[in-house]
Symmetry: C2
Subunit: 205 residues, 2 copies
């Protein structure tokens, strides 16, 4: 990873799909977006334009998967809509190729299942939503699924547990890239009690 | 408030504006949206169509302020973009009239300052963002600003502290309307450690 804080901002691209989970996307983007000198961002969708969330509200994709430029950080959310993408070979091949050049690949909730199906977690430790963990852990080849973890960092692959865990992971990514004081400051500013221990998982069975 | 769980879903309308804060909107909407049998939702903006958040990502307003139908629950987020609306008499008059018929009016972060300027907190206790509390508490007539509270419930006016506090308040609203077991279940499902004590505020000065 780049170590100098004087570098240009990293570009974080979030993969949207019909039925994405609101908090998986906008929890982390609240956190990355609050330091625009460190992170710029775009939303990538099936096509440029509106993409409906699992809850109903729509966000606007800046460009299509096909037109997505390379990203420094790739963020893959969960959401009920990802189920039909798990068998979509065209989508998975695109995701595998496009994400492969990123400095860091992160997922929230069942986003890790999409990464696993795309082969992006091969030889890596990872976690996922805890209520759906047994289902999640049935996916991917050569993935070491971790049943109790708020998030898992394995080299440049970061996978968080469900929903709200994405915010704790986002702060940990900032701590890794820019130091813990900045992450603590952001947590304070957004009035979030950061759960900064990745191994503490009150929602594991 | 309606007490029967057999009623139709309540409609929650969220007021967007250019520069709204992502987490103030999509944290609570994640929570309300996960029980679509209890809540339906719409986004209201200056015009129907895209509205840019403070962080950059855009959401789609279903209709304009002018065309907004009556809502059961009104949600007003904060965000740097609300500063110029605080002196916009046309907007404030619309907000005061439109929101006045709602069963419940809620705000997150500096959304309470907009409510105060619209006269909707007159004679009420309220809170706001804690880093900006001194500034926030300078607004509105006859508002009892509470400096230490995760959120404040005063009759049908609910105001939360900054950003992440909106999710704790949303769960408390669900507990009030539909009982604490449902709120606890949702918190568990979205892997959020619900801070359910409104008087516990680690971010108050």
């Amino acid at each position: 990873m780049r170590s100098s804080d004087s570098d240009r901002p990293r570009h974080i691209a979030t993969v949207l799909f019909d039925g994405f989970e609101l908090l998986d996307v906008f929890g982390p983007l609240e956190i990355f977006g609050i330091i625009p000198d460190r992170f710029t961002m775009s939303l990538i969708g099936p096509a440029a334009g509106s993409v409906r969330s699992a809850q109903g509200p729509q966000a606007i994709a800046d460009c299509s998967y096909h037109d997505a430029p390379p990203a420094d950080v790739v963020l893959v959310p969960g959401g009920i809509g990802n189920r039909r993408l798990l068998g979509d070979k065209t989508f998975l091949a695109w995701l595998a190729e496009w994400a492969s050049t990123a400095e860091l690949i992160a997922s929230v909730c069942t986003g890790s299942v999409m990464l696993a199906c795309a082969g992006l977690l091969k030889g890596h430790r990872a976690t996922s939503n805890k209520r759906l963990f047994s289902w999640a852990a049935g996916h991917g080849d050569d993935v070491e699924w971790v049943p109790a973890a708020r998030w898992v960092e394995d080299r440049n692959r970061w996978t968080s547990s469900g929903y709200a865990a994405g915010m704790d992971m986002a702060l940990a990514i900032i701590a890794r890239l820019h130091g813990e004081p900045l992450a603590l400051q952001i947590a304070h500013d957004i009035e979030l009690e950061w759960q900064s221990d990745s191994t503490s998982d009150p929602f594991a069975e």
